[in-house]
């Protein structure tokens, strides 16, 4: 029987498990001036706040304003969500990411057959104006940055409801700040192709950009989620994350431009939603490469004139798939490293996951710790005082170039296929996604990639403690209540008004007009989410129900 102390020498002499970055880029023992001798600081790196913005989009960076500490919460009924948002704001969050439950995200009312078991579980259940008002009750919508996360096509109803609720409370739309997931490619893969047929989704992208350009200048409407979500779905490398995200962004830009929208009218508010991974230097280099690529693409390819169009805003979230269920407290450390990479990389808004990410939605305790992660970095260290502190590092400058070169190669490959949508249609994207996750799993199972707690330094299950406990969500009660409410709404509202509003929406949709104004009217008449989505889908030639399970939402049977 091996003596436990036999391990000590082995541990003492251990070498690092990884001599490559997370993305399998080989790294040298050390880097020196000659590795970056050919770099051109003036033209190709630039000072912080100067083209091509490699070192940051602002000259002061965090000295001017800290990154938005965007934390996420939200489950159950709208009034539960309202409570949770107030808790987060009380804890010091400066931004909110509001997740809807799966039925709401996909545009289904809580009584849709497929909604069973999902209502209120991983997000807030909401289906009408009253729900939105309850959820937003008492919140300073003009002071806090709100991120509405949902499937792209359902923005028609969700944004409409947010606007209607804000108007009712007397807010000027021009004062509302926030963003919404306006990324049909992300929705197509991660939510459902049925709910997000690409053409419908691209139309909604255009409508939302147009509506917000005219009415809500502080809203970021071009929020490309694919960087984070496709990487998560396919265990992509950092260069792939960059290339694919750019390819998707280019599709949106082209969609908007083809409607005659001026590039400088929406590009200044474009943002990329990316991963904040644990490999600190690779991540920081990735963000630097992204900014440089964006600036050049906007100026040279899309001829943007406004300097703000050239400055890519980066939103980042802790990479969820890097967080592990065994020894969950270790995730606190992982998230701290993830945050550091994003801050050193100059991101504008960052979400720290809680250590419970592998198990459940955030609890108040775990959420507080996630916020603390931000607060310690922001206020106990001097890191935010210097813009791009890694600038000039032989290693990081070299890595920035390497990631950019690799990303550009992949981007060219996708462009040659005809763009990202074409690459989806010819099967390339799905194949790469599948290959990525399988290869990654193989690396873990053959020990090539270490995951503490899983294939190394594992402890028996009994010794694993989940501090603070898990979220206790009475999902069955929530579902029953939500269904009761929607049925009662449909009975008690003025159904003539609803029918008129939906007919109006149908007409406007059929004429190819912007969907938002008519959707807002329908929301105000108490049409439900599913009714609005069904009407829009039917008017545009799709099946009413994306899942073909019920043709008419009662009482219109």
């Amino acid at each position: 029987m091996a003596n436990k102390t036999d391990n000590v020498e082995e541990g003492f002499l251990a070498k690092p498990a990884r001599l490559k970055t997370w993305s399998n880029i080989e790294v040298e023992e050390s880097y020196a001036p000659e590795d970056i001798r050919d770099q051109d600081y003036e033209n190709n790196i630039g000072a912080p706040g100067r083209f091509p913005y490699t070192r940051g989009i602002f000259s002061k960076m965090y000295r001017g304003k800290l990154w938005t500490q965007r934390q996420q919460m939200g489950w159950g009924l709208p009034e539960n969500a309202n409570e949770q948002f107030k808790i987060l704001i009380g804890q010091g969050a400066t931004g909110l990411a509001w997740y809807r439950d799966l039925p709401t995200t996909l545009g289904l009312d809580p009584d849709h057959p497929l909604a069973h078991g999902s209502v209120g579980r991983v997000g807030v259940s909401f289906c009408c104006l009253e729900d939105m008002e309850k959820a937003m009750d008492g919140l300073p919508l003009d002071k806090i940055s709100m991120a509405l996360i949902n499937a792209s096509t359902t923005n028609v109803a969700i944004l409409a409801a947010y606007v209607a609720a804000a108007e009712k409370r007397g807010f000027d739309l021009a004062d509302l700040r926030g963003t919404l997931t306006n990324d049909p490619v992300f929705s197509y893969f991660c939510h459902s192709a049925e709910v997000n047929p690409l053409d419908f989704a691209l139309k909604v992208v255009g409508d939302v950009i147009e509506y917000c350009s005219n009415n809500m200048p502080l809203w970021s409407t071009m929020y490309v989620s694919c960087f984070y979500n496709l990487r998560e779905s396919g265990e992509l490398t950092a260069p792939q994350e960059v290339a694919w995200g750019f390819a998707v962004a280019m599709e949106f830009i082209r969609a908007a431009l083809s409607r005659g929208t001026d590039i400088d009218s929406f590009a200044p508010r474009a943002s990329a939603f990316c991963q904040a991974g644990i490999d600190i230097f690779e991540e920081a280099a990735k963000f630097r490469a992204m900014r440089r690529m964006w600036a050049k693409m906007m100026r040279d390819k899309f001829k943007a004139k406004d300097s703000r169009s050239l400055q890519l805003k980066i939103a980042a979230q802790s990479t969820g798939s890097q967080l592990v269920g065994a020894q969950p407290l270790n995730n606190v450390i992982r998230v701290a490293y993830q945050l550091l990479g994003a801050v050193l990389g100059g991101a504008q808004s960052i979400t720290c996951d809680t250590y419970l990410e592998p198990f459940c939605v955030p609890t108040p305790e775990s959420s507080r710790l996630a916020l603390g992660t931000h607060q310690i970095l922001a206020h106990e260290t001097s890191i935010p005082a210097v813009a791009d502190p890694l600038g000039g590092s032989y290693y990081v400058e070299k890595l920035t170039d390497i990631i950019q070169a690799e990303a550009e190669k992949i981007l060219d490959q996708i462009e040659e296929m005809g763009g990202f949508v074409a690459a989806i249609k010819n099967g390339f994207i799905q194949k790469e996604l599948d290959r990525g996750v399988v290869d990654f799993q193989k690396e873990i199972e053959n020990g090539e990639r270490v995951v503490v707690g899983i294939n190394k330094f594992a402890y028996p299950d009994e010794e694993d403690v989940i501090p603070g406990g898990l979220s206790e969500i009475p999902q069955d009660e929530i579902e029953i209540e939500a269904i009761k409410r929607v049925k009662s709404l449909r009975r008690n509202r003025n159904n003539n008004l609803v029918v008129n509003a939906l007919n109006n929406l149908k007409e406007k949709a059929g004429k190819g007009e912007n969907l938002l104004p008519a959707a807002i009217e329908a929301v105000k008449a108490s049409a439900t989410l599913e009714e609005i989505m069904n009407t829009t889908r039917a008017a545009l030639g799709y099946s009413r129900d994306p899942f073909n399970m019920r043709d008419e939402v009662p009482p219109f049977k």
Binding site: L102, A115, S192, A326, V437, V438, G453, D461
Partner: protein, 155 residues
Amino acid sequence: MSNRKIKALMSKIGLDGHDRGIRVVVSFLRDAGVEVVYIGRFQTPGSIVNTALQEDVDVIGISSLTGEYTALLPELMDNLKKNKIGDIPVVVGGIIPPKDIEFLRRLGVSEVFPAGSPVRKIVEHMISAGGEYQSKNAAYGPRGLPDFLPPLFQG
């Protein structure tokens, strides 16, 4: 005794869209010589059971990452029993906190694999459970009908 390959039905359940894990398991299963029917997302207990019957599978693998198993697995197990295939092994993987593992076992689930489980182990279990089910039903098909074809013609 039938010599045909193990046939596995792999499915998501409910509205959950996270499919990265199940795609990995499907790939590893195929590499191991298992015939996989992968029906993807937005399946209900009803649609899963229908496919299991139609495809005459030996083992069912369900992936659930957003907790709907609490409402939908009991229905699935019930449905399987009602359709006389209640003893098909059902394996559940995904985001499943420790206390729910007990809940699922009590429902009669064959094994639970929370996220992070080595995929190798999942494959081994599914092959063994599926093989056991297949041999138990070798003489009589899953619906109690005798299997008349001689082994040579069973493919």
